[in-house]
């Protein structure tokens, strides 16, 4: 790869093969953790975005009245009023059968057979403009159907979304720390390599090798080592992510289901080892050139 820049001739100046030492393995471990944190962060971000988009677009109107006739009457009034409101995109009364189906698991058939006074429920979808005039809609509703109670999904979704956002930020912070730790590992590896090859470097220097020429020898190897560690760590992380995804799908919950990795996140994950390689290349070059700059 040209970007790691070292001609075939340059490569013959140092012994071939990987640099000894734990750096590739350290980077593999860090890449594993980084990829998991990044995947978590990206999944959180996309879940928050999806929930945030729905946030407050859904409200439910409940009419709690013991008398079924009055209840139906207010429900109809509420429905008609809501349908006429600006910013309301959809109004749907939840039918009795549907309600009973929802309740059956809790009350059982026997519980439902008794003449249980179920409230009338109306699902309302709002446009963004409708969301902004929710207060006006509520007021209008109160005159048309005095027993109507409006349930704003935003009130219980908002803390969840902010929690998810916070988790996403935390993941971002962890990724940033990992980048720092990876850079530190590369600095240590570069210094070790410099010490190991001190004699060779001194001789090359005295024969007129430039700092850039010498740095090229090291940065290429260190970058390839980092790339190797990065790929290894990523493979492990992707395995874990796929396994977790499988488990989540088995839970089948809508909330858990919304935590999914968008395809853009996969691109980011696949780019991570390459980024590690480029990071290692840059850090190694700077480290080597600074060390050489202190010599004559």
């Amino acid at each position: 790869m040209m970007m790691f820049g070292a001609s075939k001739a340059d490569r013959r100046l140092l012994p071939e093969g990987r640099l000894a030492g734990p750096m590739p393995w350290v980077i593999a471990i860090m890449m594993f953790l980084t990829a998991l944190a990044a995947a978590g962060g990206l999944a959180m971000e996309s879940a928050a975005a999806r929930l945030g988009a729905d946030l407050g677009r859904q409200v439910t109107v409940q009419i709690v009245l013991a008398d079924p006739a009055k209840r139906d009457q207010e429900a109809d009034a509420a429905r008609q009023l809501l349908a006429r409101q600006q910013g309301v995109t959809e109004v749907r009364r939840i039918g009795n059968d549907e309600m009973q189906a929802l309740l059956r698991p809790w009350l059982g058939d026997a519980g439902l057979e008794r003449d249980l006074p179920l409230p009338a429920m109306i699902d309302v979808s709002l446009s963004r403009a409708g969301r902004d005039r929710l207060g006006a809609i509520t007021n209008a509703l109160r005159t048309a159907a005095p027993h109507a109670r409006l349930d704003d999904h935003a009130s219980w979704l908002a803390p969840l979304v902010s929690l998810i956002r916070a988790l996403g930020l935390l993941a971002g912070g962890i990724v940033a720390l990992m980048v720092g730790a990876t850079a530190a590992a590369v600095v240590l590896a570069a210094r070790t390599a410099l010490n190991t090859h001190r004699q060779t470097i001194d001789v090359m220097h005295l024969m007129g090798a430039t700092d850039v020429q010498i740095a090229r020898l090291f940065q290429r190897r260190i970058a390839l080592d980092a790339l190797f560690g990065g790929v290894l760590g990523l493979v492990g992380a992707v395995g874990v992510i796929l396994l977790l995804g499988e488990r989540m799908r088995e839970i089948g919950s809508e909330l858990v289901g919304s935590i999914a990795l968008p395809w853009t996140a996969w691109i980011v994950l696949l780019a991570l080892p390459l980024l590690a390689g480029v990071l290692a290349l840059t850090v190694a070059r700077i480290t080597v050139q600074r060390a050489l700059g202190r010599t004559l």
């Binding site: 013959r12 012994p15 024969m207 004559l296």
Partner: protein, 240 residues
Amino acid sequence: MAGIVQFENVGLRYGTGAETLSDLSFSLAQGGFYFLTGPSGAGKTSLLKMLYLAQRPSRGSIRLFGEDVVQLRRTRLPGFRRRIGMVFQDFRLIPHLSAFDNIALPLRIAGVDERDLVTPVREMLAWVGLADRASARPPTLSGGEQQRVAIARAVIGRPEMLVADEPTGNVDPEMAARLLHLFDALNTLGTTIIVATHDIHLLSRVASANVMRLDRGQLQDPTGALRYPPRPDFGQEARP
């Protein structure tokens, strides 16, 4: 003839002790052949290190190829070093590289194309009698063979100036004579040669050589008065 090397009141002090070298003032002529002698510990290696830009003097001025190298910016050092060939007292061959690759090193550093360096390196190997050891690594070579690889590496780039520190220390007299003959041939082609040695028998081997003698950090008659054997016109060349 222009001086290729000019020292003026050069002093060198390692750490805080007394000066290892003091008040060195001399000028070497381009194309000259110089022996630097003196007992062990006199400071021969230290003087050569300043010559091949591995050591800055503590005081004084050094001009090399007509430029002051004491104040030279780091980035300009490689250009100067590529004009100088060096034979280190301890060889400093790169242990993981073959004899061939060790000798090719200066050419590779200078960016010579791989295709263009095979022939000269092979010729050089043959010249120092190591044609059949091209792929041997230094640890598998004898001391004398390592020394010859070091010499081949120093001269392969046709340097303008060759600085050799005890280059015959590890070879038998016959090989020493051959190596000096190699230096002499190089000198005839125009390379300025500076050879440090404590072996006074060597001095008579090169008829045209000047002799400088270091003793306790002082240079005695740097202009060739100690030529070996003395020549009637001594001291007339190499004077600034």
